[in-house]
Symmetry: C2
Subunit: 145 residues, 2 copies
């Protein structure tokens, strides 16, 4: 996978640009987000990080994802009151969310939505489309709940 390495290079470059130091914790968090398609919660990232570095604290993971978000290396996504989740894919894309377990996956959508009547003076900067439903594993267990 050289795509990963390319992204890690960009990560390092971006950090230097922004005056952020390259620490093992930061690399670990970003790498985990790059490797994951499920948009993990901070807790999940934390558990993953600790497999490599058992001494890392939860607060550090919180601080790291916030820092990375500020420099647009990751995105924060939150749905339905569950805890925040993070996404290393910062390109234009949308999400499909399981209403039961909260897992999120990236999707692409054709065409652009058009607002019929925009509130006056509202400056639109972007949009996101969220599909929701049941993922395969939750669908299986759905009847038995």
């Amino acid at each position: 996978m050289e795509l990963m390495e390319k992204k890690m290079d960009l990560f390092i470059k971006k950090c230097k640009q922004e005056g952020l130091k390259i620490t093992p914790q930061r690399i670990a968090v970003y790498e985990i987000l790059l490797n994951s398609k499920s948009h993990p919660t901070v807790e999940e990232i934390y558990e993953e990080v600790r497999k490599r570095y058992p001494f890392v604290s939860l607060a550090t993971v919180y601080r790291t994802v916030e820092t990375l978000e500020q420099v647009s290396l990751v995105r924060k996504v939150c749905y339905w009151g569950s805890s925040a989740r993070y996404d290393a894919n910062t390109e234009d894309h949308h999400h499909i969310v399981c209403i039961k377990c909260g897992i999120i996956r990236d999707i692409h959508v054709q065409g652009e939505p058009q607002i019929s009547e925009k509130p006056e003076d509202f400056e639109v900067l972007g949009y996101s489309i969220n599909f929701y439903g049941l993922c395969s594993s939750c669908k299986k267990n759905h009847s038995s709940t």
Copy 2:
């Protein structure tokens, strides 16, 4: 405004249907949500309710909105880590959100988005489109921030 009264009638009917008691607190919360276009937070609803009934507790407002959500009389919406907001408009519609103050307004959108590659086995139940940007009052103060 007889539309309001019509909606209040539906509210009463729905409550009876569901075996919910019609209490002043419930009426107040629902009325406030009906009258508001800004999708208030629980805290905001609470402050509004207390103008009429100074003895009402915050816990009651939390319980009330949750109950109303369960019987589909209101909808919970949450964006960007700010606290949850509630919406008495349960018809199909989408939202436009100010990234600065968090205010939400309803909008309508033309056409339906089409997913290019849906993850296998994911059962799609619905979708929502969220536009984000700056509302008029935040846009004014933007340069001075």
